[in-house]
């Protein structure tokens, strides 16, 4: 007797959420992130038909081919995923967009588009698979490489890193988090919350490059990150469609109500951390960085700001498929214009 297939709330099997076989190196952090994405979308019961996957160029940017095989994807040019994603969402505001970038793709050539995407609060899940180097071009330092971090060749990085989380907060992103490809639980919870959030989700996931940046002296090696992970809270996510009550001691947890009715439960690890306080969040990031640590978890959230698509006030249907009558004004309109020009 066949056991009934395991399905999610929209009746799809886990298999549906998988993608092609990865061509990344065995053990690459990026693969772990793909796995969490597969789980999160499966468990949240997202319709793959609604999802678009966008990326730039890099090992990280290849990874959308390795999850959600039934969704459309666009492997664009280096550093320009944000604009392509913006366009896709303008065409169809019902799409759920997930953009995958690398720290080189975002921090170097793509930092301009990153800045403007954050500023617009475009509703997209923007993931940086952050390994502190350019994996695909063989390991040069990227702009997130830490001061003093070493290349395999022994060369030392003498520039300060760009903290993409601090930048995103400064620029107006409404959901900013950092995680580690090795922290399954935290990453999964954050990804689910990301799916529930309406606005820009900026999720910097430290994701060791096992081939070029996993050695002693690197501050983005698996071992180093594991040792220097400094979680702000214990994150759990309760989707709107699950009726779970979690009890915490009063004051020991913060509950964030998401746009779709889901809840993000943050069990405090530090008395005073409040992820809705922008300047507090920045301070905390700076402090961790000064200690050589990575503050992870939900760093900042502003659940209620209007996202870019809302500001544009477009019709409810996707612009992409409006019929001719809706997009071509009538004869009178043209005549009126002509009259005005006589």
């Amino acid at each position: 007797m066949a056991t009934p297939a395991k399905v999610n709330r929209i009746g799809l099997e886990p298999q549906v959420y998988k993608g092609g076989k990865t061509t990344l190196c065995a053990g690459c952090g990026h693969n772990a992130i793909s796995e969490r994405i597969i789980e999160a979308f499966y468990e949240m019961g997202v319709d793959p038909q609604r999802v678009v996957k966008l990326s730039g160029i890099g090992c990280s940017s290849k990874s959308p081919a390795y999850f959600l095989g039934g969704s459309h994807g666009f492997n664009a040019v280096h550093g320009r995923m944000p604009s392509v994603g913006t366009g896709a969402l303008l065409a169809n505001k019902h799409l759920l967009a997930i953009g995958i970038s690398g720290d080189g793709d975002t921090g170097a050539i793509g930092i301009g588009q990153f800045v403007h995407l954050m500023r617009r609060n475009l509703p997209i899940i923007y993931i940086i698979e952050d390994n502190g180097c350019y994996g695909l071009t063989k390991g040069q330092f990227s702009p997130t490489a830490d001061l003093g971090s070493k290349l395999k060749t022994g060369v030392v990085n003498d520039l300060p890193p760009i903290d993409t989380c601090a930048l995103a907060i400064e620029l107006g992103a409404t959901f900013v988090a950092r995680s580690f490809s090795g922290d399954k639980k935290q990453l999964l919870a954050l990804l689910k919350a990301a799916i529930a959030h309406r606005g820009t989700v900026m999720l910097d996931v430290i994701s060791p490059c096992v081939t070029f940046n996993d050695h002693e002296g690197s501050t983005k090696s698996y071992a180093y990150v594991k040792d220097h992970d400094d979680p702000l809270e214990e994150v759990s996510f309760i989707p709107f469609f699950e009726d779970i009550n979690v009890d915490y001691l009063p004051g020991s947890a913060q509950e964030v109500a998401m746009h779709d009715g889901s809840k993000l439960m943050l069990k405090k690890l530090e008395e005073d951390y409040d992820p809705t306080d922008r300047i507090g969040a920045l301070r905390r990031l700076h402090e961790a960085a000064r200690r050589g640590e990575f503050a992870t978890g939900l760093i900042y959230i502003e659940p209620d700001r209007d996202d870019f698509l809302t500001l544009l006030n477009v019709v409810d249907e996707p612009l992409a498929t409006l019929p001719l009558e809706r997009v071509r004004p009538g004869k009178e309109a043209l005549e009126e214009i002509m009259e005005g020009l006589r």
Binding site: V84, K331, I337
Partner: protein, 629 residues
Amino acid sequence: MSPSELAVQEARSTPNQPRVVNDFSIQVATVNGSGSQTANLVLLRSLLLMGIPVSGKNMFPSNIAGLPTWYTIRASKRGYIGRKKEVDFLVAMNPETAKEDVLTLDAGCAVVYDEPLKLNALRRDLTCYAVPFDKLVAPVCPDAKLRRLVRNMIYDGVLARLLGIEMPLMEQALQKQLGRKAKAVALNLAALEAGWDYAEKHLAKQDPYFIERMNETAGKILIDGNAAAAIGCMMAGVTVVAWYPITPSSSLCESLIGYMKKYRVDKTTGKATFAIVQAEDEIASLGMVIGASWAGARSMTATSGPGMSLMSEFAGLAYYAETPAVIFNVQRVGPSTGLPTRTAQGDVIKAALLSHGDTRHILLIPASVDECYTMAMDAFDLAERFQTPVFVLMDLDLGMNTWTSDPFAYPTRPIDRGKRLTAEKLKALGEWGRYKDVDGDGIPYRTIPGDGLPAYFTRGSGHNAKGQYSERPDDYVDNVDRLARKFETARAHVPAPIVERAAKAKIGIIAYGTSHYAAGESRDQLREEAGVETSYYRLRAYPFTADLPAFIDAHERVYVVEQNRDAQMLELMKMELAPEQVAKLRSVLHYSGLPIDARSISDDLLSQEGFEVAKPTTGRISAGSAGGE
């Protein structure tokens, strides 16, 4: 100026010239930011209302206020609307350039000037009319702060009187120009009248130039090419626009915003059927367009040369990934920190080949505001049909200057959204592959996110016909060969040229875009002045259509007229025409930043034909400020 001074000056003029009616050019020299644009457009429109074919061209500097600007209005009973090289009637308002403006005129020209400039002292072979603008403006405009703006309307009044433009039409033009701003209308009307009155009382007509009513402009509209293109985009059903400001293309998107807000917002819900985003730069603009087109929207951007250069990488991606994109390039003189307010047809070969690797793009080249309108619609249809970027190459002259036109016709054709896979088609095909050439025309079927049909992963060239990742040599070759085939298919679908064969002509002329007007006028000059008959081929698109070789074959020599230094269109032709055809091709180039004029073409062509050509006329305008920093 006292009446006695006037008398002196009359003596200097050449009163025995024959009357020149509706066939001369007026140049107004001012500084920008001085409100002269209103006065100039009123003058222009008044001539239109007089029924006279007319055109206006603005030569303005690359700054915002305070530098020399020249506006040239040409009245032409024969309907010539290209730039006229010679200035016949100068209005000299700008102290900084007045001297040079006057010194470069041909003998016999007329000059209205601001009295304190004392330009009459410079030459004796001109007709000079001094007007004390400051004295006249004070009484009509008590608010001293506004005088600078109102002052220019006075020369309209003076010209109306001197040239014979009917005041009621002038007033009508003014009303139209200023719309419902009652106070401004009143002030300007007063200035207009002050000018008229002054001329009536103090200026005795001495020059040969006259305006008389005709009936050539009934129903015509006045519009710039950018606004015309904007209307076309709206009518094409554009839904996503991403742009970054740049002269001379900004007003295309700005006009579009205006029209869309008026006609494309749901009256009841207040919601828009479009999204227009001012992007952070041109790379982002094209990225957004590509993303939107990929997701199924009709999407466009507009830019100029520097922006197009920045779009190079993305343009190549779109060619290979086969996403539609409509890109207006309103051309200006290159490069960046070049002459952004001067016109050129300098991005032709660059647009055709934009990006690295083997790429080739469709170009549409409107010559008139009406074509800006229709080709905007063509561009979207072609971009979606061929799933590729389509460049609409305009130029500053077409985009920013005001042109007369018949009113635009409401489109009768439905829009062509190209080969979109449907559930039925999928059934019929059995198996779908994103890049399969099922119809033999090189054009594959596509799906879009959210349509419920099979998804695919979009990339540049690294895929097989099914859209799967591939680095196989044969997959690559098959794919790029299909792309070449697709481009060949496009030949039969782009706008065909407009051809005029003259019966016994041995000479052909090929022109495109705004070179058309000067080329047309030059053909008349060649016939009338030198007895040279020419056939004419107005090119409207790239890839070239199949009839180009035949046109060349039918003539002994063919001149390709264009506004760039390197003969870029000719270069594109040479790349694909047979050597026998290439052997017949000659080039006529004009690349000073000013719109091309008929006289320059005729002189150049005739001298290439072995005629003795007179030294270039002195009518070289001094447009452009120099030095001194």
